[in-house]
């Protein structure tokens, strides 16, 4: 281990700020756009201090107009800049969906690479923070379904910084989902300066031979708690954080599932059409004959993310995860 690398202990949201700062310092083309990101530093303070440091020309408070500033981001991106756009909450991204769907994702294809969109859209997502309606959506699947955009979702400060730097350096559009319930709940050692976590690669968080649990984002801490509880009961879980939802890491899934033969997929998003189904088809394609039990999915229900009075019922809980682990173990 290289002890010369300086680290500091920071939260996930501070790691985001650190990544933005690092890249703004390195590349003058990196611009930030979004609502309240200037003086206010963003509603989650992810851009805190950056306007002061880089000026209003590089940290641009936009009017309330998701389609307008994502569209303008496309224009900036084709004209030499790397816009990093903050959507205040992922549930507010829908007005910009048309811009993402009909332009950002397909401009490279339409023009055979003549115009490209090296743009990052940051979107805090997920329930469990007692936020109002619509602030809690976890609709990554509508983006993983769209060819031409990558979808990234870190669960730790280290990954958040490294993946955001990778997203900014990526020549294509990236949707960068930030699990808002993890923004300040986790602190970890993060190296100073620039480093990259490769987009498209998952990470093994816990090694075990009995059950593979595949998850990402805000579900990671809940899955780890459930796995810890099962360990005390003598069931050892292989816990995988996918980190990127498109392109998904098929190798890490196949390796784990072929070892354990039992799988539980956990995600906060709705079940139908969810990314869990893509994980399931990877298992089908790569590891069909290794299966000892049908794959279980623990997900949010097929209901709109409810008001927070109900959100503990909506979100996958340790109890539901443990129930699923027991089910695949006793099949």
């Amino acid at each position: 281990m290289n002890t010369a690398i300086k680290t500091r202990t920071i939260t996930l949201v501070q790691a985001i700020t650190d990544a933005l700062d690092t890249m703004m310092e390195e590349k003058s083309e990196v611009l930030l756009l979004g609502e309240d990101i200037g003086k206010n530093g963003g509603v989650f303070r992810a851009t805190d201090g950056l306007q002061e440091k880089y000026g209003e020309g590089r940290v641009i408070d936009t009017p309330l107009s998701e389609a307008g500033f994502v569209g303008a981001g496309i224009g900036l991106a084709v004209n030499g800049f790397i816009p990093v756009i903050e959507i205040q909450f992922m549930g507010f991204i829908y007005p910009a969906y048309e811009q993402i769907m009909t332009h950002a994702t397909r401009l490279r294809m339409r023009t055979m690479g003549h115009y490209t969109v090296p743009m990052v859209i940051r979107a805090p997502y997920g329930a469990g923070v007692r936020a109002p309606e619509i602030h809690c959506d976890s609709t990554e699947a509508i983006f993983t379904h769209m060819p031409g955009i990558k979808v990234v979702c870190p669960s730790s400060p280290y990954d958040a910084k490294g993946l955001l730097i990778a997203a900014i350096e990526d020549p294509d559009p990236v949707l960068f989902m930030e699990p808002m319930r993890c923004y300040r709940s986790i602190k970890a050692e993060v190296p100073e300066g620039k480093y990259v976590v490769e987009i498209g690669k998952g990470k093994k968080l816990l090694e075990g031979d009995d059950v593979s649990i595949i998850t990402w984002g805000a579900m990671v801490p809940i899955v780890l708690n459930a796995a810890q509880e099962m360990k005390e009961k003598g069931v050892y879980c292989d816990v995988i954080d996918l980190r990127t939802l498109y392109p998904i890491d098929n190798e890490i899934i196949a390796d784990s599932v072929q070892k354990t033969g039992r799988t539980v997929i956990v995600h906060e998003a709705h079940a139908t059409g969810g990314v869990g189904n893509d994980v399931l088809s990877i298992i089908n394609d790569t590891s069909f004959l290794f299966q000892k039990a049908p794959v279980e999915r623990v997900t949010g229900f097929d209901v709109p993310v409810p008001y927070f009075g109900f959100e503990d019922h909506y979100l996958p809980s340790e109890a539901r995860i443990i129930h699923a682990i027991k089910k695949v173990m006793s099949f």
Binding site: G75, M109, H114, T116, G148, P171
Partner: protein, 356 residues
Amino acid sequence: MESQFPILQIMDCNGQIVSPMYKDNISEDFVKKFYKQLLRIRLFDRKAVSLQRQGRIGTYAPFEGQEAAQVGSALALEPADWMFPTYRDHGAAFVFGHSLRNILLFWNGRNEGCVPPNGKRIFPPGIPIATQIPHAVGAALAEKIKGSNHAAIAYFGDGATSEGDFHEGLNFASVIKAPVVFFNQNNQYAISVPIEKQMNTKTIAQKALAYDIPSVRLDGNDVFIVYFETLKALERARNGDGPTLIEAVTWRYGAHTTADDPSKYRDQIESNNRREETDPLLRIERWLKNEGLYEEKWIRQIETDAIQEIELAIAEMEAFPKANPADIFDYVFAEPTWQINQQKEEYLRLIGGEAK
């Protein structure tokens, strides 16, 4: 409100100069330069409709009747400016220097059609309505940050002004003083919906008031007023004074696309009358005649040249290599994902020798 935005003109339908301010500019050479471009794109448009009828290109969006709006605005641009056209603005793109072969390839369903010639900053035609407007704002903002004096122009129709992206684009551009010209061709129909059913306002120009940006309403069939007003708007943009909205009032004679039948929703007698009265080419012919400068021979010559140019582009389009199926996989990302690679390999293997 309509009276605040009178329709400005330099040359009226009879070929008379009605705005003496520009009298000195309207020389024989100047007029002929515009006429040549108008004729060139009219011939192209008519030919494209006929190619579609013959099954040599796919569905096509004709612009006949709107030539002056497209020529006047495109000729006002500097070579390094940005153009964000819609699917009906290939006349403007052609005049600005897009490759005619590629324009035809676009209508023949090929990605190559969206690629502008080197050095020309022309976006692929906007297919959804109004979504190219924020792109132009972003590209213009980029020019402003770079400190250049290049500008962007975004084209759109009357129906586009009902869309959110129009309002978001204008608002943002006005806040950041983006060097952009919003160029509306008000052809008075959004496919089948007449403007009275599209908006309660009598003009599109007045919509700029909400954003405190200058706007102007023009006779969109008068190529000269379009040219000089676009030039003025571009100068304003280059000087750091922000965006302008131009409403060019015009009319498309024919269908929305070759898949559409305008007689279903409007009286085509109106179109025929407009061909006789307000046509952008006819009024120049009238001016030439008034001035004693009309030469049948010159017109035949530029017509022959344009036809030759168009036929050459059609031949190039038709001789273009067959679509390579690998292309649909290779340009989605800078580096294809494993999913795309896997799908590509399996498909190319399946179709065997057809692959390349």
